[in-house]
């Protein structure tokens, strides 16, 4: 690990300003992903701004009947919150399907959103990776790509976003609240937080330098049955091959989003509209234009079957 200076932030705006003015500075919260990458020297911050002491660790009601989740709320606490379990069960289910108990006790809401891909070529600094080293190429294209993306990818990058939580937040139409180094606040719809790789896969979000996530808000509950179905190589503690977050209403309408298929949580309006017509129609709309590799050609069928299993459990037409 490269040496770094360390400083505790006293307010969100001050933290944002500190990261903006110090070259090579980064926020650290749970640290479960950042320290992993620092040990491999994939991340080499010159300074860490510790935000753990900031007052951003509570869950409260919003004026419009939704919930505001502080950026520092740990994954365990978010999954266990009675309001989340009752009204946003898809989010609880997604959280407890991710990582391990130890990691969920440390990992934060904002950190989970901003975690980096687990593409093996991003992690192996002997390999070409446009995300880690822009312009070096993408070794995953011809490599081991079982976990890689099938929609929204590019010739420069086929990495996936590894979060389960973010897929549930996408299906819930969450918003991300931030503060900029100048103290300005803004709200980003979660659909617009993560970028597709295009030619610049190293730029992963629409956040500006130093911009700090302070909270995630959920709109008022939409009812329906909530599902988070994750398919992986082990029964527990593994990243998704594919996952499906779904909210199905009693009339068969609903919404779906998928994880493990793209550079961001994947949701398509046409797939929501197709849901009452069954899994085949919904999967076709969700994965329109999909491009698979030799290793992940199973993913479209797996997505369709995962949607089908959700619809069967919901009691509507599969």
């Amino acid at each position: 690990m490269k040496a770094f200076a360390y400083q505790r932030a006293s307010s969100p705006a001050e933290a944002a300003a500190a990261v903006a003015r110090t070259p090579g500075a980064k926020f650290i919260a749970g640290g479960t992903n950042l320290l992993d990458l620092m040990k491999l020297e994939i991340e080499t911050p010159a300074q860490l701004i510790d935000v753990n002491g900031l007052d951003l660790d509570t869950i409260s009601k919003t004026d419009d009947g939704g919930l505001r989740i502080g950026a520092l709320v740990r994954n365990t606490d978010l999954a266990a919150d009675a309001r989340v379990r009752k009204d946003y069960a898809v989010l609880s289910r997604a959280l407890v399907s991710g990582a391990s108990g130890q990691l969920r006790n440390r990992a934060t809401t904002a950190g989970n959103l901003l975690q980096r891909t687990r593409c093996p070529y991003f992690y192996d600094s002997n390999q070409a990776c446009n995300k880690r080293h822009p312009g070096s190429g993408c070794a995953a294209l011809q490599g081991f790509s079982r976990h890689n993306a099938i929609v929204g990818a590019s010739d420069a990058c086929i990495a996936t976003h590894p979060s389960d939580m973010a897929v549930a937040m996408r299906v819930l139409d969450a918003s991300v609240e931030t503060v900029s180094p100048s103290g300005q606040q803004r709200v980003i719809p979660i659909a617009d937080l993560h970028r597709l790789p295009g030619a610049t896969p190293h730029i992963e979000t629409t956040l500006q330098p130093g911009e700090l996530i302070t909270a995630v808000t959920l709109p008022k509950p939409v009812g329906g049955q909530h599902f988070y179905r994750k398919v992986r190589d082990r029964a527990s503690y593994a990243f998704a091959l594919v996952s499906v977050a779904a909210i199905v209403q009693s009339d068969g309408s609903g919404r779906i989003a998928a994880g493990g298929v793209a550079h961001k949580p994947w949701r398509v309006e046409a797939a929501d509209a197709a849901l009452p017509r069954g899994a085949k129609a919904a999967a076709a709309a969700l994965l329109q234009g999909a491009k698979t590799t030799h290793d992940n050609a199973f993913k479209p069928a797996l997505i369709e079957r995962t949607i089908a299993s959700v619809l069967v459990e919901a009691g509507s037409q599969a």
Binding site: G101, N105, Q127, S236
Partner: protein
């Protein structure tokens, strides 16, 4: 390989050559080589004062900011019961309990725990006065080589508390009800602790014993 610039050190060539996919990245070899041979600026270590409360005892330390909680425990406080397995949060051998919660001590910096209360395997019990979970692991043979055992035991103690506190897991059927004290729940919640000897079945028996019978 012969196209790689001569500036590469022997070690770097070996690294590049040893990777099976090296051939597939040849078009990018220039950029790759630049990455391998690029300047690696050295930075001076930054030392910080850190106070840890470990197993009821306060320790004032002066640590490099890079020191993980795991290394602070093992290398500075010589509490070597906590093990370093993968050092990347994948195996759980380094599990300790901080302010009542189990975490991977390898994926957190000591400086982030200034003033925190840390419980390690040495703090749970001693050979003479074992914690009930330690005694149950011995009774049920919940190990073979023993390397993962301190992490398994710290995790197991915390798992029973988490179920009691009503924290849901991936196998919890009804999210609005309290989770069951069941073998299925224990297996799922212990998934962050890997045992390469495969003592899992006896580990569940040990936890079952302490819990007073799992469903």
């Amino acid at each position: 390989m012969d196209k790689l610039p001569l500036k590469m050190t022997r070690r770097q060539v070996l690294i590049a050559g040893a990777t099976p996919a090296a051939a597939s990245v040849l078009p990018a070899a220039g950029a790759l080589a630049a990455e391998l041979t690029g300047p690696t600026p050295t930075r001076a270590a930054v030392m910080v004062p850190v106070e840890l409360n470990v197993n009821g005892k306060r320790h004032a330390l002066e640590l490099d900011t890079r020191t993980t909680l795991l290394d602070a425990l093992r290398e500075h406080l010589h509490l070597t019961g906590t093990k370093k397995g993968c050092d990347h949060g994948q195996c759980g051998a380094c599990t300790v309990i901080v302010d009542g919660r189990r975490i991977n001590s390898c994926l957190t910096l000591a400086v982030m725990h200034d003033g925190d209360k840390v419980t390690t395997i040495e703090g749970l019990g001693t050979p003479e006065r074992m914690h009930p979970m330690q005694a149950a692991f011995v009774k049920h043979d919940g190990y073979q080589c023993g390397y993962c055992t301190p992490g398994q035991i710290c995790s197991a103690v915390a798992v029973l508390d988490e179920i009691k506190a009503g924290i849901p897991s991936h196998v919890t059927g009804d999210l609005t009800a309290r989770p069951e004290l069941s073998k299925q729940e224990v297996r799922e919640r212990m998934s962050g602790n890997i045992c390469r000897c495969g003592a899992y079945s006896n580990i569940v028996d040990a936890i079952d014993d302490v819990a007073g019978g799992l469903a």
